[in-house]
Symmetry: C2
Subunit: 149 residues, 2 copies
Amino acid sequence: MNNFVSVAENCALNKLRQTSRMVTKIYTEYLQPSGLTPTQFSLMTALSLLGSATMKRLADVMMMDRTTLTRNLKPLERDGLIKTFPGQDRRLKNIALTDNGRNALDEAFPLWEKAQTHLASILGTEQWETLHTSLNAATKVMQKKISVQ
Amino acid sequence: MNNFVSVAENCALNKLRQTSRMVTKIYTEYLQPSGLTPTQFSLMTALSLLGSATMKRLADVMMMDRTTLTRNLKPLERDGLIKTFPGQDRRLKNIALTDNGRNALDEAFPLWEKAQTHLASILGTEQWETLHTSLNAATKVMQKKISVQ
DNA sequence: CTCAAAAAAGTGTATATACACAACACAAAT
DNA sequence: ATTTGTGTTGTGTATATACACTTTTTTGAG
């Protein structure tokens, strides 16, 4: 009984992971000169938009587990790209870009743009749009249904 | 200059990762009783289909880095769900499910089906189909363009 | 005011991912 | 037969992910 054929072809998560792995290769390669990983670039972008944010807020915005965020920020702080400072509420930890962080982000931006363009050209305009639409729809719906803790 | 707004909204990789994280939550929860992670389930499914496979072959089929595969197989072998044996060509390492592995996979299958059904119901039939279509198209095109080493 | 509940964050542990490098086996050319 | 190159795999290191548990601080009920 080969039910298992359908897993290989139809498992949504497996497909997501495979796609994610391949797309990661592209962005990692393009971001290489900046010294930033894709995750780091995304986190810093979010911080650039937020100005500063607590761990919880940043985790929510990124739809990232709080504890994952803690580990992901470690290299950024070590390298002086972000800084942290307590809030009035002493439970809170605020995070913001440093000047070095802002500079690194500015340098990385055009590299990210090239990665986007490259992927778009590989997929073709239509598939590129469809991918975005479906991922946006998926995250939007799941955000409501799933507690990000 | 807030170029960075477009990153949060338009970064394909960021969207892929976010979606992947949320979908992972669903499948992990459903697979919980089986003791298998989603990755392990997918790997074992592939092995079930292939009968047995070398590291390289399995990595290719899974579109997974060879060295990632090495680490991912460790817990499965430790738990007696897969076994390995050398080929005639002594560079090759063959991998196959054990009887325990096959049993575990049989038990996990209906759990995976429930996860699929649950996600499909969250997304709705149309989005579910669109997601699959676009991910399939993406992996198909990238598989040609990108060397998986 | 006191103390229990809740909220924010960190740590231990485990899996997932992949690059750079190393080790080993086979193949092919001379 | 030796050498040289190629193919297959593993290891060291680093980031990415998240659950269970703990610590600290704040809030709120009485």
